[in-house]
């Protein structure tokens, strides 16, 4: 057989690729995740309406069932409308956008803080390491979502009421990111400690390279492998954390709702017959969570040297 010529082909033919192809649930999960991500990214282009623009809403469209023309305006919507006349399909796409944005940004923030602190702790050692690890330990005593709630509450208290809605997304990213950095720090610290002992680092120091340069150019790349696995799992957790916080009312506000907020709104109408306001966002969140979880599981198994 000739070796495949495209990058994708070669990727699918490697070790990782083969284990990917052999597992149907994983392929399905990847397809679903891809579809959702594409939908979210292209939302402004493919969504029928912009649910975040209050001027585009017509209240008389409210509570329209899926694929049924509205009694007053005659408009029909694929997935129905919510209490404000927002098209559910658009709301879900934009909500996905927010959920994914917050998830990715939060993980990026957590990675930035965690990797930096982990590198410093592992490479520099001494009392700096001690302090960072103490702080990490203290934070680890609390479940991440509790830390996120506390940070959100405090940040909310520090912002004046008028700006709270606009700041909500950033505060969410901050709180989820700050609650999640510890695992990154620990893993990177362990790798950094190992690398710091090696000869090439001593050699680099001899020729006068600065500590920061050594850390970034040599130590960091070698420590990044396990970080990717943690990042995928963190992403799944961050997405669920954001949905939970929004559902509890301490996350994305109803004026720019994420999937969790939509579910919170929908819960109030589930029992009165407008089931679609809850059902479709819940289904989307379920699909997203499962997909990312499955991918994370597969990645962890595939990269686990013991099972090879």
């Amino acid at each position: 057989m000739r070796p495949p010529r495209t990058i994708l082909g070669r990727a699918l033919d490697g070790d990782l690729g083969r284990s990917f192809r052999r597992s149907p649930p994983t392929v399905l999960a990847a397809a679903v995740a891809l579809a959702l991500i594409l939908g979210a990214a292209l939302a402004p282009l493919i969504a029928p309406a912009d649910p975040h623009d209050p001027a585009s809403l017509n209240l008389m469209n409210g509570f329209t069932p899926p694929m049924t023309p509205n009694a007053f305006t005659g408009e029909a919507f694929w997935l129905g409308t919510d209490d404000q006349g927002r098209d559910m399909a658009s709301a879900i796409l934009y909500g996905l956008r927010i959920s994914l944005f917050v998830g990715v940004a939060a993980v990026a923030l957590a990675m930035l803080i965690g990797v930096t602190l982990g590198l410093i702790a592992g490479y520099v050692g001494g009392w700096v390491d001690g302090v960072i690890m103490r702080v990490a330990d203290i934070q680890l005593t609390f479940p991440a979502i509790l830390v996120a709630m506390l940070i959100f509450g405090v940040a909310k208290g520090l912002t004046p009421p008028e700006s709270r809605d606009q700041m909500a997304i950033w505060v969410l990213i901050l709180s989820i990111g700050l609650s999640d950095w510890v695992q990154f720090a620990r893993t990177v610290r362990a790798s950094a400690m190992v690398e710091a002992q090696k000869d090439y680092v001593a050699a680099a120091r001899l020729i006068g390279r600065s500590g920061a340069a050594i850390m970034l150019r040599h130590v960091a790349p070698n420590a990044l492998g396990p970080v990717l696995v943690i990042a995928t799992i963190s992403l799944a957790l961050a997405i669920i954390a954001e949905a939970t916080l929004s559902f509890l009312g301490v996350g994305a506000p109803p004026t720019s709702p994420s999937l969790g907020t939509l579910i919170r709104i929908g819960q109030g109408y589930l029992f009165s017959g407008e089931w679609w306001i809850l059902f479709f966002p819940a289904l989307t969140l379920l699909a997203l969570a499962l997909a990312v979880n499955l991918l994370g599981d597969w990645l962890r198994d595939a990269l686990n040297p013991r099972l090879r």
């Binding site: 209050p54 209240l59 409210g62 006349g85 008028e162 407008e274």
Partner: protein, 523 residues
């Protein structure tokens, strides 16, 4: 395998056992739930319908309202106006005792008035016109007013009498609105029920007071009240029979409730108008921009931009009534001449805003999110409507517990408010909402936007002392016309009154949304 089965069974057993019992609720035990819990048991500490409505079952006043809102005798058997409009004389009922056994007499009325009119009380404005209170004998009390006050008895329908001895002995001689005192958690009234358990925010238990002076029209032996914030939860518990009565019933579930067996929906219209107010007494908006609401064209434009019919149809499911003034049509003093609302006209609104140079102006729109029916949803819809008219509102929603304090402090640019006049008379909203704020005379204390009109201020004292109905109505009509022409407020609708109960409950609904326990029969 047997161990596994045993583990399974052990885990599931409690559930199975519990489910197989269908515990019947005692016929005369009554459970009811509301979205909010009364924040205090002190009848002078908070002037809100939630607190006063609940305490109406435990405390009583000189007068009270009947099923049709007409004034009835309570702790006062009869009353009459004094010569020349000097005040009112109340003849007290004899043989009344408080829940702890103490006797009721004029001393308690004097004490309660001093307490309710004090600086620490939230109901002092009811006694703004009272200059002195005297007790010629132990069962007569005179309220002397600064000027003739024809509706004074109406204005004290929720003034509740406390026992002087009990209050002083327990350190509750004055209300404490900050940290609370004995009267916040304990009640000792003359009412048909007494509080036997109070867990704030969790539950309150009431039991009939066997020495009550009146004739019971109920068959309740025990009443348990719990707050349920979440409407879906409340609905589910009513349908499953866990509670007998919920108020308010969630508006979106009315159809479902009507169609459910074993449940009845009690509908009416509450005498509560919902409206928007504007910041009118400052040059700048909250964020420093020029105050667009000082311009009557902008206020008019807002009136035309809001589609009240759509709000009533979609959000309130057709259960509310659009209104044109700050008082509802059924109350005394409503101006029929000015019954028409400004029409929904988006183009006119856009034109007015452009003319006033306010296109694209950003401002803060504030609303509570758990006080009035669908309050947050209404405000969200209005944000959209105002955006279409060319403005840029920023929505702020707060829980009621913080909203009113924040409103007083920060004076939001545009705010939602609901008003229920406890006198059921048009003079009430004028006194609180349209009069220029004056702390000394206790005027305009809820006029957060600072609306001020000299003619209205001049007419108010005349209205308050005018005894001729026709002349009074003419003055009220003039004030209504001024408020509409100046677009001082944006009256939206009269709030629907929706209660839901199990089918075997007989009760009476009152237009002020007060739930009176002693009219309930469990069949």
């Amino acid at each position: 395998m047997r161990l596994i089965a045993a583990l399974f069974a052990a885990a599931l057993a409690p559930g199975l056992v519990a489910a197989s019992f269908a515990a019947p609720v005692e016929a005369a035990e009554f459970r009811w739930a509301a979205t909010a819990d009364a924040a205090t048991l002190d009848p002078h500490a908070q002037n809100t319908a939630t607190v006063l409505g609940f305490l109406n079952n435990v405390y009583e006043g000189l007068v009270r309202r009947g099923r049709d809102m007409a004034l009835e005798s309570a702790l006062a058997e009869r009353w009459e106006a004094l010569e020349g409009g000097a005040g009112w004389r109340f003849h007290l009922r004899k043989g009344v005792t408080f829940h702890d056994g103490a006797a009721f007499d004029a001393e308690d009325v004097l004490f309660s008035h001093a307490r309710a009119a004090s600086k620490q009380s939230d109901v002092a404005s009811w006694f703004a016109q009272v200059r002195a209170v005297e007790a010629p004998d132990p069962y007569t009390v005179d309220f002397l007013t600064t000027a003739p006050s024809p509706i004074f008895p109406d204005s004290i329908a929720n003034f509740m009498i406390m026992d002087k001895g009990w209050a002083e002995a327990n350190g509750a001689a004055l209300p404490d609105r900050e940290t609370g005192n004995f009267a916040t958690l304990n009640a000792n009234g003359t009412g048909a029920f007494r509080v036997t358990l109070r867990e704030p925010g969790l539950q309150t238990v009431l039991e009939p007071f066997d020495k009550w002076w009146g004739t019971p029209e109920h068959n309740i032996t025990r009443a348990i009240h719990k707050p349920i914030k979440n409407p879906a939860t409340a609905l589910a518990s009513l349908i499953s029979g866990a509670v007998d009565f919920i108020e308010p019933a969630p508006i979106q579930d009315i159809e479902r409730l009507r169609a459910t067996d074993g449940v009845q929906v009690i509908e009416g219209v509450e005498a509560r108008t919902i409206f928007f107010g504007f910041r009118q007494n400052r040059e700048r908006l909250l964020d420093g921009g020029a105050n667009i609401f000082k311009d009557v064209r902008v206020r008019e434009a807002v009136n035309h931009a809001i589609n009240v019919e759509a709000i009533v149809t979609v959000i309130l499911r057709g259960a509310a009534q659009p209104v044109s003034q700050l008082i509802d049509p059924a109350s005394r003093g409503y101006s029929h001449a000015r019954a028409a609302r400004p029409a929904f006209d988006l183009d006119k609104a856009k034109a007015l805003i452009a003319e006033a140079g306010a296109s694209g102006a950003a401002f803060t729109l504030a609303c509570p999110n758990d006080r009035y029916i669908a309050d947050a949803a209404v405000c969200q819809a209005v944000v959209g409507m105002l955006a279409q008219a060319g403005l840029a509102p920023r929505l702020v929603t707060l829980p009621a517990a913080q909203y009113f304090a924040a409103l007083r402090e920060r004076q939001f640019d545009m705010y939602l408010l609901g008003w229920s006049a406890d006198t059921f008379d048009a003079e009430h909203p004028i006194r609180f909402l349209a009069a220029t704020p004056d702390a000394e005379k206790k005027l305009g204390s809820w006029n957060f936007g600072g609306f001020s009109n000299d003619r209205v201020d001049a007419l108010l004292p005349l209205i308050q002392t005018e005894l001729d109905e026709a002349a009074r109505q003419a003055m009220l009509d003039e004030v209504a016309a001024i408020l509409q022409d100046e677009a001082a407020y944006v009256p939206l609708y009269v709030q629907p009154l929706l209660w839901a109960a199990r089918a075997n409950i007989a009760l009476s609904q009152r237009a002020d949304n007060f739930f009176i326990l002693r009219w309930v029969t469990v069949n």
